[in-house]
């Protein structure tokens, strides 16, 4: 308790609260603008923290991380272009809601459930950091492979009408991620002796191309006299508490899921949000309205991806392992202030740890305040004529694609992938599975190969672990159910008009 009060006295200093607020603002801006991501924001914020007090410095970084995570939903909902990979699943129902004129409801819901998920996971983390980190250790390569394979099975739920088309898209995503220098064997693959291809296809670059370029091409080829699908009146309605209360059980389940996945190193926000989306769809009473603007399709991924923030803090603090590039930068910020994560952290730096917990809560208060005020302004983006918006988006995306790795090659890569995505959209092939394949592909492959090396080439390693078997069974179940329902649909197409 004494330690807590000591931490509180540091964390509630105006300078610390201000630093967290600044971080949240930076994160929100970078997260909400398509093309700019919070990983870039964190990299820029890191040097400012060198000369700050430890708690304020960590607060700034955590604020940026959390602000970025919640900001990603803004452009996902308003423009159908996710600001971060973690928000890619939010597009599926968030953007249709905007088309129905419910943008502000979707945005408001996203913010509130984000805060719910974030605080929930923080509490789980504080209470059970020891237990969860011990569980996380038991996830070896074979177990992570099984978990990620289970994640892949959610492709089934993202296919729209046709499993075949969904698989084409998903496999293409997997194939794209094999380009580049293979880390395990140190061998270049599919690079055709090009140094630029040696760096591989960046996930964020591909994501910008996949979602933003089709939007831009569509606007450019539209006849100017055709009225765009825009709502005449834009009001900043917020979701009613009653509506949210009815979904609280879904929010709890998605928070647990997000926290759990966040705690396992090598996974992250994108996997969690897709699994949560699939979970919500599968157990929803109004399953057919998913993809057409069902609010549950916003609640599930947004709760889960913010619950990941608390989850990733578990291996970060207790084991010193960053779960993704963003937390790797937070880790650097901790280390430079002499706070070395690991088993000894909670004894040596208890004050700073408590200070971090408080900073996370403060960050979410800032998120709530800034976003709820911001929604009033965000929705006005929809009033901007689409042709002007498209130009702005194109410029931002080019800057964003370049800034991730400071590589002009990435701007071209974004263009090529974007044109491909436009063709896919025209052929009614879903593009979300590409993202899923790209997010999961490298983990899937690396963990499989590492597991095989561990076992000396014997595949039995996957069948002797109960955790792995559990996830294999779940994956089989998901695929089996989908095949059955697809066969049913083929036999009686009139039963469901639009699957």
């Amino acid at each position: 308790m004494e330690l807590f009060l000591q931490a509180a006295s540091v964390a509630f200093l105006p300078s610390a609260i201000g630093a967290v607020g600044l971080g949240v603002l930076i994160g929100l801006i970078f997260g909400s603008i398509p093309g700019l991501t919070f990983t870039v924001a964190l990299a820029l914020a890191l040097p400012i923290t060198f000369s700050m007090e430890p708690v304020a410095a960590i607060g700034l970084l955590l604020g940026t991380y959390i602000g970025g995570m919640t900001g990603g939903s803004v452009s996902a909902i308003l423009l159908g272009i996710p600001g971060t990979p973690s928000a890619a699943a939010t597009v599926l129902d968030g953007y249709p809601m905007t088309k129905k004129g419910e943008a502000s409801i979707a945005l408001g819901t996203a913010v509130i459930v984000s805060v719910f998920g974030g605080i929930f996971s923080l509490i789980v983390m504080i209470v059970s950091v020891d237990l969860v980190s011990r569980l996380a250790i038991s996830f070896g390569p074979a177990e992570i492979f099984a978990l990620v394979l289970f994640g892949m099975s959610t492709i089934c739920g993202l296919c729209g009408g046709s499993i075949i088309k969904g698989l084409i898209s998903g496999v293409l995503g997997l194939m794209m991620m094999t380009i580049g220098l293979d880390e395990i064997d140190g061998v270049p693959r599919m690079t055709f002796d090009s140094v630029n291809l040696l760096q591989g296809v960046n996930l964020l670059v591909a994501m910008i191309g996949l979602f933003a370029i089709p939007f831009i091409i569509e606007v450019a080829t539209q006849r100017m006299d055709v009225a765009p699908t825009r709502v005449a009146k834009i009001r900043a309605h917020l979701p009613s508490l009653n509506l949210l209360w009815r979904k609280v059980w879904l929010m709890v389940r998605c928070s647990v899921l997000g926290t759990g996945i966040g705690a396992i190193p090598g996974t992250g926000g994108a996997i969690a949000s897709f699994l949560a989306y699939d979970h919500a769809r599968r157990f929803s009473k109004e399953r057919d309205s998913f993809g057409k603007g069902n609010i549950e399709g916003v609640i599930a991924p947004e709760t889960a991806n913010n619950a990941v923030t608390g989850g990733t803090l578990i291996p970060l603090l207790s084991l010193g392992i960053p779960g993704d590039p963003a937390t790797a930068i937070v880790l650097a910020g901790l280390m430079i202030h002499g706070i070395t994560p690991g088993p000894a952290l909670f004894m040596q730096h208890a004050t700073e740890v408590y200070g971090m917990y408080i900073a996370v809560v403060i960050a979410y208060v800032w998120v709530l305040a800034l976003q709820l005020v911001g929604i009033r302004f965000f929705v006005h983006v929809l009033k901007i004529p689409r042709e002007l918006l498209a130009v702005a988006v194109l410029v931002l995306c080019a800057i964003g694609a370049y800034s991730i790795r400071n590589s002009a090659f990435d701007i071209y890569a974004m263009g090529v992938i974007g044109v491909l995505a436009y063709v896919f959209v025209a052929l009614r092939v879903p593009i979300t599975p590409i993202i899923l394949g790209m997010v999961l592909g490298p983990t899937l492959e690396n963990e499989f190969r590492t597991a095989m090396m561990l076992s000396g080439g014997k595949a039995g390693i996957f069948l002797t672990s109960p955790i792995a078997l559990l996830f294999f069974t779940l994956a089989l179940l998901v695929i089996g159910l989908q095949v059955v329902s697809e066969l049913k649909f083929r036999r009686n197409p009139q039963e469901k008009v639009k699957a």
Partner: protein, 321 residues
């Protein structure tokens, strides 16, 4: 003010390109515009680079802007810098990766395409095992490995990575080179895998093991440099244990070959001032690297010596092109 500069400098490097295009006309004293420092890796490399560039900016009077160009084991960044003008405004935060990138065939040029500026830091790898093995020295480990049919599983970052090369050299010198199998993990996961008992040993940076050693979960048997490391002062070097291995990773600065000597000297002086600063020394202790400034000429000799060493090692491992 500093922050707004950074956003401009690092995010929209388009502006920087424009600056380069406009600024080349008049010849004045170096530096008259920002210096771009290409960073090849994330993690510790990036953190040190950000701190170094901040401190060098103070010394030079012009901003040094760290720009991350990762990928291909450094090949992407090296290729970018090789293609820039040798005027000192484009430098690279380099490491032993220049030797390995060349010998594995990822870049078509070698270290001589760069003018060495200065060595800045070194990091010394450490070999850790699970405390439950009871091993306390390299001899214990070698004996256990030799007397058993079991193959030891050793965690590395990836084939051809620095941790792999160090492991290979160390286990060869210990005479158990044929008793180990290498398991490639991504970066940073080795301590957990050791803890969980999925691997028997791993070579990583001392900073990653420190907390576990204090908690009594892992034992560090040796460090592979010629001196002990400050954060694990009780751990002897391999040479103290009669195993003839001396490998450490250096990081430093280089510019494209042909950069004028006075420009190189100015950059080296700025780097020296940064390394000597209290802030840099303190960060070194926290992050777990050793500040090790070395001037241009000596640094060049070190790179040339290492080039032969890593070339031979990679050839032995069948990875050289």
């Amino acid at each position: 003010m500093k922050f707004t500069y950074r956003i401009r400098g690092a995010v929209t490097a388009i502006a920087a390109v424009a600056l380069v295009a406009l600024g080349g006309a008049a010849k004045a004293e170096f530096p008259e515009k920002p210096v771009e420092m290409t960073v090849l890796f994330g993690g510790t490399a990036n953190t040190i680079a950000q701190l170094l560039s901040e401190l060098m900016s103070d010394a030079l009077g012009q901003p040094v802007v760290p720009v991350s160009r990762t990928g291909g084991g450094g090949a992407v960044g090296y290729s970018h810098v090789v293609g820039t003008a040798p005027d000192g405004y484009n430098i690279v935060w380099n490491s032993n990766s220049i030797n390995t990138a060349r010998h594995t065939g990822h870049v078509p040029f070698d270290y001589s395409a760069f003018a060495p500026i200065a060595r800045v830091s070194i990091e010394i790898p450490a070999l850790a095992v699970n405390a439950s093995t009871g091993w306390t020295s390299l001899a214990d480990m070698a004996e256990a490995a030799k007397s058993s049919d079991k193959i030891l599983r050793v965690g590395i970052s990836g084939k051809g990575s620095f941790t792999h090369l160090t492991s290979a050299a160390l286990f060869d010198a210990m005479g158990i080179g044929d008793k180990v199998a290498y398991i490639s993990y991504g970066k940073g996961k080795a301590p957990v895998e050791l803890l969980a008992g999925r691997i028997d040993a791993a070579i990583q940076w001392p900073g990653q093991f420190k907390s576990y050693v204090e908690a009594g979960d892992l034992t560090v048997l040796a460090v592979t440099g010629d001196e002990r490391v400050a954060i694990l002062p009780d751990v002897p070097t391999a040479m103290e244990q009669d195993v003839d291995v001396n490998i450490s990773m250096w990081r430093g600065l280089a510019a494209p070959a042909g950069t004028p000597e006075d420009v190189v000297a100015k950059l080296a002086a700025a780097a020296e001032e940064a390394v000597d600063s209290e802030e840099f020394q303190k960060a070194a202790g926290n992050i777990g690297f050793s500040p090790a400034y070395q001037g241009s000429e000596e640094f060049g000799k070190l790179i040339a010596k290492d080039d032969k060493f890593y070339g031979d090692l990679l050839k032995k491992l069948g990875m050289a092109m």
